[in-house]
Amino acid sequence: MTLDDMLASLFPEGHDVRNDNGVLLGSGPLRGGGRAVVIGIADRIAVGVDEAIRLSRHVLNAMERGGTGPILVLVDSDSQRMSKRDELLGLNEFLAHLAKCLIYADMQGCQTVGLLYGHSAAGAFLATALATRVLVALPGAEPEVMDLPSMSKVTKLSIDVLKEKAKSTPVFAPGLDNLAQTGAVLSTWDEKTSLAEQLQTLLGSDQDGGDRRDRLGKTRRGRPKAADIAERVHDLALQSK
Amino acid sequence: METLSYRHKAQERAAGSKSLAIIGVVASGNLEVLVERSLPDTECQVDINTAAEGFGAVWEAVIADFVERRSPGGLRLSVNDGGARPDTVALRLAQAVRLIEEEDR
C-alpha cells in the first residue's frame, strides 16, 4: 500500500499530512469525531537528529495546544542514521526525547497508535513505532531489529543456518510474524477494508494504558519468560524493605 | 554445549556460614562459579556447563586437585564456562570457596 493510499483510507475526508523528505507531519479528522495528530517516517529514510527533533516538536506542539486527541505514528523507516555527525550530536538523546514525548502524550490521554506500513529497524523502531501504546501493521510490513547478514557476521553462522534456526523460534529473526509473536505488534490490519474504521475500532477498544506487550508475547509463545520475570521482580521489589 | 558433573568426598566441611557466593563472569576464556552450601558436610559436587566440548579429562583432573587442595565439603559448585583455561578454572573454583568461607561484612 502506498503512503497516499494509506492516508486516503485512514482519512477519507482529507488530511493535512505532508511528506517532507521522509518526515511526515500533520493531522486528519477521525471517523468518530475529533482529529488525530500524525507524525511519521516515510520512504524508508534513516532517522537521525534532524528528523527526530521535528517529530518531537510536532508532538509537543499538540500537547501545548492542550490536545487530547490520539497521535498516529506512521512508520516506514530505515534504522537510526549511522553517522559520525549524528553520534557526535547525541542521537541517543534525540531518539529518547521523541520516545519520551510519545509516552508522555499517551499517559496524558492522547492515545498513541503506531502503524507500521513498511520497514523499520533498531533505534528508529524504538523511538517511533515501539514508543506507542499499541502497534499495528499493514500486511507486508517488514520490521527488522537486526538483519540476518549482520547477524551472520557476528555469530559466524551462515544465513542458511540462521534461517533454519529461525524456524524453531521467533525470538531473533526479522519479520512481522516474529515481532507479532513476541508481542510487539498487536494485530495486522486488513488493507482491503477501511483503515479509518479499523482505527476507530482500535481507539474504542483500547482504554487501558498499561503495557501489555510482555503478556501478549507470553500468550503467543514468542517470549516465554519476560512477563513472569518482570512480575516476579515487581512483586519482590514491592515486598522488600 | 557440554554438561559435566563430578561428585567427590571431601575431607572437611568448608569453613564459614555463608550459604551462597558467586564469582567470575561468562566471557571468552572466563567462567562463573556459583557456590551453594547445600550438601552433606563431606560431599562436594561440581556441575559444569561448558562451551568447549571434549575436555572431560582435563576437567576431571582440575576438579580432583581442587577437592584435594581446598576440601570444599558441603558445597555444590555450579559452573558456566565460556571456554576458560584450566588454570583459570582452578583459580575461580578456589576464589569461590574463599568467598563463601569469608564472614559477611
Binding site: - | 579429562a57 582435563v58 583432573a61 583455561r85 584450566p86 588454570d87 583459580l91 578456589a94 576464589q95
Partner: protein, 548 residues
C-alpha cells in the same frame, strides 16, 4: 690487467645513472621507480631497511613498483620482512633470494611463498648474525634506509628510532655500495647528525615520517591474574634470590606484569636498588612506574617506542640521548649489550618441548627470530664475573673448581601453561621440527635452545633446570610446571614431589605466595592512562591504545 678497484668504478657508473633523476642528492618521490631502476642491477644484494619497529616504507613501495624485466633476481638482505611490499618484490619476480631475521605480520605469507618456491631462502638469522654477515659475505650493494630528516649535503638525523641504520650504512657505504635514504623532510639544520652526509648518496623527501610499529606497548588493562601470579613468582623466586641487576625483558604481558609489579610487590619485598637497575631494553611504557619510583639507573635501547619521546627527553639520566635531547638507539650495540652485559634474559614463547627447547614458529607461520636468541643464550665468550652469573654457574656445576667454572647467564622462559585460544605452551614435539621436515631445512628454527634455558616459570611454579642432573629430571621438572596440558598431566607424580623437595621445582606456596592474592590491583598501573599519569603527562600513547 686485473682491476683492483672495479667496485669503485661500478659505483661511479651507478651514481652517474642515478644523478639523472637527482637535484643535488635529492630525488622526488614520483621519480623513485625510475631512479631505482637506474642504480640497482639485477642480482644485487639489497638491504631494504626495516625491522620489528621502523620501516623504510616509501622506498619499499617504490622498489615493489620497479619493472621486473629490468630489475630481477635481487638478493634481499634485511632485518625485517614486515610490510606487504617486502614480499610483493618476490611475488613479482623483482627479488629471488632472501636472508632475513624477523617477520611478524607477514609470517604466514613468508611460509606460503617459501612453499610456493617464490622465495629462495638463505637463512633466518638473529639480528646480530645478520649484522655480522653484512661485514663478511652478505654485504649490500644497495641500502635503502629511513631517517627523520636530512640536510642538503645528505647528513641524516635518524632520531630516536636510529635502530639498524648505522650498521647498514657502515657495511654498505664502506664497501662501495649505494645508500639511499628516505626522510620526512629536508631541512637547513639538523637536530644532530647521526649519519654523516658523505656516507649517503641520495635522499628522498617522503613528506611523511617513516612508519614505526608500537611493538613494545603493552596495555596494562589486558594483563590477567595469571600473568600477575607468574610475575610474582619470577620476582620472588628469581630476581630476589639471584639479585638480578642487569637484564633484558621480552615483549610479552608476563614481563610487562613484572615491570608493573616492581613499585608495588617488589617494593614490599624490599628489592629496590638490589634488582633491575640496569637494562638493555626498549623504552617500554610499562617500565615508567618503576623508573618514576627510582628503581632504574640506566637503560640502553634497540629502538625507541611510539609516544615515549618526550618522556625519554625529560629523563636523560636514565636513557641514552643525543646533544639535541632525543633518544639515540642502536640495535647492534644493544643486542651486544643484551648478549654480553646482562645477567638475565626473560621472555615468553609459544612452545616448549620436554627438553626445554622453545620456538615461536607454527607450521603455517615463519616469524623469524629478531633478537631474542641473542639475548636468550649463554655468552660463552663472557669473562667478567657477577654474582648472579657465578651463582647460576655453581648451580649447574656444583662440583667443579670455582676458578675454572664458567658462570651462566639466566635464560628464563615465562608463560602460562595455556596461551591464546587455549593452545598449550608445552608440547611433545615442536611445530618448528615439523616445519623443518616439510621445508627440508637443515636446522629447525628454534628460538632458544634447551641447553641455554635455565628456568621455566608458569602459574604452576618455577622449574630450575640448572639443578637437574639428567635428562629424566629435566623432563619431569618441565612436566612439573606444565599444569593441565597433556605434558603436565603426563608427569611422574613421585619424581615431581622429589624435585620439589630439592627446590628444583618451586610452587607458589613454597615461595609464600597465595595464588588468590594475585590480583590486578597489585599492578602499579592498570591502564595506559595510568601510565600517562605516572609519566606526568609526558608519555603520549598512540591512538589505538587510548580510551579517552
Amino acid at each position: 690487467m686485473k682491476s683492483w678497484n672495479a667496485q669503485k668504478t661500478t659505483l661511479a657508473e651507478r651514481l652517474a645513472d642515478g644523478r639523472r633523476y637527482a637535484s643535488g642528492k635529492t630525488i622526488e618521490v614520483v621519480d623513485l621507480p625510475n631512479f631505482l631502476e637506474a642504480v640497482i642491477r639485477p642480482a644485487d644484494r639489497v638491504c631494504l631497511e626495516g625491522d620489528n619497529q621502523k620501516q623504510a616504507d616509501v622506498l619499499a613501495a617504490a622498489l615493489a613498483d620497479v619493472d621486473p624485466a629490468k630489475i630481477h633476481d635481487l638478493h634481499m638482505v634485511q632485518s625485517g620482512v614486515v610490510l606487504p611490499e617486502h614480499l610483493d618484490v618476490f611475488e613479482k619476480g623483482i627479488a629471488r633470494r632472501l636472508d632475513y631475521s624477523y617477520s611478524g605480520p607477514q609470517a604466514a605469507r613468508v611460509a606460503r611463498l617459501l612453499f610456493g618456491g617464490k622465495i629462495e631462502l638463505g637463512a633466518v638469522h638473529t639480528y646480530l648474525e645478520l649484522f655480522a654477515r653484512y661485514f663478511v659475505d652478505l654485504t649490500p650493494n644497495v641500502a635503502l634506509i629511513a631517517a627523520v630528516c636530512a640536510d642538503r649535503d645528505g647528513n641524516l638525523y635518524t632520531g630516536p628510532n636510529t635502530e639498524d641504520t648505522p650498521t647498514v650504512v657502515e657495511a654498505t657505504t664502506f664497501k662501495s655500495g649505494i645508500v639511499v635514504a628516505q626522510v620526512a623532510e629536508i631541512v637547513d639544520r639538523l637536530p644532530r647528525v647521526d649519519i654523516p652526509g658523505d656516507q649517503v648518496h641520495f635522499v628522498v623527501e617522503a613528506k611523511k615520517p617513516f612508519y614505526v610499529e608500537p611493538l613494545f606497548t603493552r596495555d596494562p588493562a589486558a594483563i590477567t591474574e595469571a600473568q600477575v601470579l607468574t610475575a610474582m613468582l619470577a620476582i620472588k623466586g628469581l630476581y630476589a634470590p639471584y639479585g638480578i641487576r642487569r637484564l633484558n625483558h621480552g615483549i610479552g604481558f608476563s614481563t610487562a606484569a613484572i615491570e608493573l609489579l616492581l613499585p608495588t610487590y617488589g617494593e614490599k619485598l624490599g628489592l629496590k636498588g638490589s634488582v633491575c637497575t640496569h637494562w638493555a631494553l626498549n623504552p617500554h611504557p610499562a617500565l615508567i612506574p618503576a623508573i618514576e619510583s627510582g628503581w632504574v639507573e640506566q637503560i640502553h635501547s634497540f629502538g625507541s617506542e611510539v609516544g615515549m619521546d618526550d618522556y625519554i627527553r625529560a629523563r636523560s639520566d636514565i636513557y641514552f640521548t643525543g646533544p639535541d635531547g632525543s633518544l639515540r638507539s642502536n640495535r647492534a650495540f644493544c643486542q651486544v649489550a643484551g648478549l654480553y652485559a646482562c645477567d638475565m634474559f626473560i621472555g615468553s614463547t609459544l612452545q616448549i618441548d620436554l627438553l626445554g627447547n622453545s620456538s615461536t614458529v607454527t607450521t603455517s607461520r615463519i616469524a623469524g627470530f629478531g633478537g631474542a636468541p641473542n639475548m636468550g643464550s649463554d655468552a660463552r665468550g663472557r669473562r667478567h664475573p657477577s654474582a648472579p652469573w657465578l651463582q647460576a654457574g655453581k648451580e649447574a656445576d656444583p662440583d667443579g673448581p670455582p676458578p675454572l667454572r664458567r658462570g651462566r647467564k639466566l635464560v628464563v622462559q615465562i608463560g602460562e601453561t595455556f596461551g591464546d585460544k587455549n593452545v598449550p605452551l608445552f608440547v611433545e614435539k615442536l611445530d618448528a621440527l615439523t616445519l623443518a621436515e616439510k621445508l627440508n631445512l637443515e636446522l629447525a628454527p628454534l628460538m632458544i635452545y634447551a641447553d641455554d634455558v635455565t628456568h621455566i616459570v608458569t602459574e604452576e611454579g618455577i622449574a630450575n633446570l640448572l639443578l637437574c642432573r639428567d635428562k629424566d629430571e629435566r623432563e619431569q621438572a618441565i612436566r612439573g610446571v606444565a599444569g593441565y596440558t597433556d605434558v603436565g598431566r603426563g608427569r611422574d607424580g613421585k619424581m615431581v614431589r622429589r624435585l620439589r623437595e630439592r627446590g628444583v621445582i618451586r610452587r607458589p606456596e613454597d615461595l609464600g605466595i597465595d595464588p588468590l592474592d594475585a590480583d590486578r590491583s597489585l599492578l602499579a598501573a592498570r591502564s595506559i592512562k595510568d601510565l600517562v599519569r605516572w609519566s606526568g603527562g609526558l608519555y603520549a600513547p598512540p591512538s589505538k591504545f587510548r580510551n579517552w
